[in-house]
């Protein structure tokens, strides 16, 4: 069952230097129990898309001129504010990258966790506290009972991230959006947090949108993947197929630039140039200035996301060649 479907979503920002088109017609969907990884570099629009889904985009300067976000079949963009507020937290929850700056430093974690129950379910303070302790236990925070009154700064980075996860899970949502949930963490702690997230996802059959730039994390947990570049999806595929045979030169470049054993002592493959400035996105295919296979058509014509196989799409004029090489 399709849990969430994003259709032709556009997001603009009105700035002093003109209109920045951060997201330009993004389509993706997630089913219950499924993990979609959205891969991209800074400025690719991956987080802006997530904020639009959550309804936490700053508007203005942001604006959604076009598109639909269907959650369980209903378009969230046409809902009233009140309706959306009820979905947020209860049905769709978000985990942010930096737990320290996402938690309120002057309120105890127990208060912040309990807020979910008080606001959405109308529980009393006492009941909410009991629920908070239960949640903290759930995400493996030792001595939860004693620590429920502690403040965010009294926890380590990994534990803070677990509290964020606890908060997102509090109301057993159907969909979780995790924006770089482990980027700020050490590898051994990252492994703990990802394992916890995967266990809980399985238990509640939640859909998960994982936003990341880490090809390793994606390979570990994702079912399917959408690669974003300059506000568009350039490739989408089931995870194994994408790693085996990428159909877009950008994806291919990213995979090739991972240091591999047999390359030791040799130069790493590097994508030339820099990610584009979003207020001056190149004409035609946005990747063409950095693409080793760019032709004239790439400079003038925007390639559509063409179907290149079962559940696979690539926005490259030369996907056949890329796939076939």
């Amino acid at each position: 069952m399709t849990l969430l479907e994003v259709r032709d979503l556009h997001v603009d920002f009105h700035t002093r230097d003109g209109i920045v088109k951060a997201v330009n017609g993004v389509n993706y969907s997630v089913d219950a129990g499924e993990t979609l990884a959205v891969l991209g570099e800074s400025g690719s629009g991956k987080s802006v898309t997530a904020q639009a889904i959550m309804g936490i985009l700053d508007m203005p300067p942001g604006r959604i001129p076009k598109g639909e976000i269907l959650f369980q079949g209903e378009d969230m963009l046409t809902m009233s504010k009140e309706q959306r507020r009820k979905l947020r937290g209860a049905k769709i929850a978000m985990i942010f990258q930096d737990a320290l700056s996402s938690l309120n430093p002057v309120l105890s974690v127990g208060y912040q966790l309990g807020e979910m129950f008080r606001v959405h379910q109308g529980l009393s303070r006492k009941e909410a506290r009991a629920k908070s302790i239960e949640l903290m236990d759930r995400v493996n925070i030792p001595a939860a009972k004693d620590r429920v009154r502690d403040y965010p700064h009294q926890f380590s980075g990994g534990m803070r991230q677990r509290i964020m996860i606890a908060m997102a899970l509090a109301l057993e949502p159907d969909l979780i959006i995790a924006d770089e949930p482990t980027t700020a963490l050490d590898v051994t702690v990252q492994a703990q947090v990802m394992e916890l997230l995967a266990d809980l996802q399985r238990e509640f059959n939640m859909g998960l949108i994982l936003i990341t730039h880490d090809l390793g994390v994606v390979a570990d947990v994702a079912d399917k993947i959408a690669v974003m570049y300059a506000g568009r999806i350039v490739e989408t595929a089931p995870v194994k197929e994408l790693y085996k045979a990428p159909a877009h030169p950008y994806t291919r470049g990213l995979l090739d630039s991972i240091p591999r054993l047999d390359q030791k002592g040799r130069e790493l493959y590097a994508i030339q140039g820099l990610p584009p400035n979003m207020s001056r996105v190149p004409e035609g295919c946005a990747f063409h200035p950095r693409c080793p296979a760019a032709q004239d058509i790439c400079r003038s014509e925007l390639p559509p996301l063409a179907e290149v196989g079962a559940g696979r799409g690539s926005a490259c004029h030369f996907w056949k060649e890329t796939l076939g090489d």
Binding site: E41, S42, P142, S156, G157, G158, M159, D186, V187, T188, V189, Q190, A191, Q192, M194, E195, H213, D214, L215, G216, V217, V218, A219, D220, A222, V239, K240, Y243, K244, G253, L254, L255, S257, I258, P259, L261, Q263, K264, E267, L268, Y269, A270, I271, Q272, L274, P275, R290
Partner: protein, 357 residues
């Protein structure tokens, strides 16, 4: 003085594996004090607690470890930005921890640093030319006044930036370009050693490879020795000749890249390697992963004996009583395999299932 150091540079690069830097029993404790008026010391953060290693001319020594393990403090100690509590750092046989004034300045010229965050390590009010040329103010013997502009433009060219950008400001550059500026500044005095503390972790994935390639190319060109500190194990493996693994102020294991990645014998290294997500979805089901319990203990109050014992699945009573020394474990001494390298564990052994990035 310049001639002399030029001379010693030559000797260094032709050296028969004489270490250029010898670090012995290095300790750095930061005091923790209590009270406002009458401050008294109540303890110490044992950021670095007795580590030893060598750095050879022209090689890259990678240092990996998680936050709080002391790797950045080691970098600061090598740069003489912090004074060690104990231990020695010998640069070409001379202990630099006791130097001051002119002698210290002379040594510092040869050990330069590249920082992690190219957004905060460049002064936003200085032009690129001033940033890269600033080291010449302190060491005017390297480039006479009239020659500086040309030298800076040369450096820009060397790191792959347009020499015409000399009058631009840092905000006009992207992250990758700024890191190139940081590298150019590090190279300005033609140092022999570059200490790079997480030089690519703040960069976009597609730009990291460019900077890693640049650093390798510069190493070949100028015969530099690198100390490359990072938490990205696959990049460290790519660039390093030898790798040291740190945990809570101590060196857990050190060896060639192959010894560490293919034949790790310290449980922490094994856990660390197994935790790295491998960018290959085909192997995710078959992988055995060691997920450690808990968090890294506080360096203000580290566990007795082996620092890793509180999270180690092999720990026994002996680990709490006796601090394991960093040495080649006896069982592997004669083996002649990759396992024969220094590892600070009482129960060092190879583990077959560690999949490597």
């Amino acid at each position: 003085m310049t001639e002399q150091s030029e001379q010693s540079r030559k000797n260094g690069s032709e050296g028969k594996r004489e270490p250029i830097l010898e670090v012995r029993d290095l300790v750095k404790h930061f005091p923790l004090s209590k009270g406002v008026l009458l401050k008294r010391q109540v303890g110490a953060v044992k950021a670095v607690d007795g580590i030893s290693f060598d750095l050879y001319p022209g090689e890259t020594l990678g240092i990996v470890g998680e936050s709080g393990c002391g790797k950045s403090t080691v970098a600061k100690l090598l740069m003489n930005l912090e004074r060690p509590t104990a231990g020695t750092i010998k640069y070409k046989g001379e202990d630099i921890t006791r130097l001051s004034g002119r002698a210290l300045r002379e040594v510092r010229r040869n050990i330069q640093m590249v920082f992690q965050d190219p957004y905060t390590s460049l002064n936003p009010r200085m032009t690129v030319g001033d940033i890269i040329g600033e080291p010449f103010d302190i060491h005017p013997e390297v480039a006479p006044k009239g020659d500086r502009r040309r030298r800076v433009q040369e450096l820009l060219d060397v790191v792959g930036l347009n020499p015409e950008y000399i009058n631009r400001y840092p905000h006009q550059f992207s992250g990758g370009q700024r890191q190139r500026i940081g590298i150019a500044r590090g190279l300005a005095l033609r140092p022999e050693i570059i200490v790079a503390d997480e030089p690519v972790s703040a960069l976009d994935v597609s730009v990291q490879a460019q900077v890693v390639n640049l650093m390798e190319q510069l190493q070949d060109e100028f015969g530099l020795s690198y100390m490359f500190i990072a938490h990205d194990l696959s990049i460290v493996r790519h660039i390093s000749d030898r790798v040291g693994v740190m945990y809570l102020g101590k060196m857990a294991e050190i060896g060639t890249d192959e010894q560490i990645y293919e034949h790790p014998t310290h449980p922490y290294t094994q856990a660390l390697l197994s935790a790295v997500p491998v960018p290959d979805p085909e192997i995710r089901e078959g992988r055995e992963r060691i997920v450690l319990e808990g968090d890294v203990p506080s360096p203000a109050n580290p566990p007795s004996g082996c620092r890793f014992r509180t999270r180690c699945w092999k720990a026994e009573a002996r680990c709490a009583e006796e601090t394991p020394l960093l040495a080649v474990p006896k069982v592997f001494e004669a083996a002649g395999t990759g396992a024969a390298h220094a590892s600070a564990c009482h129960f060092a052994e190879e583990r077959a299932a560690v999949v490597v990035a």
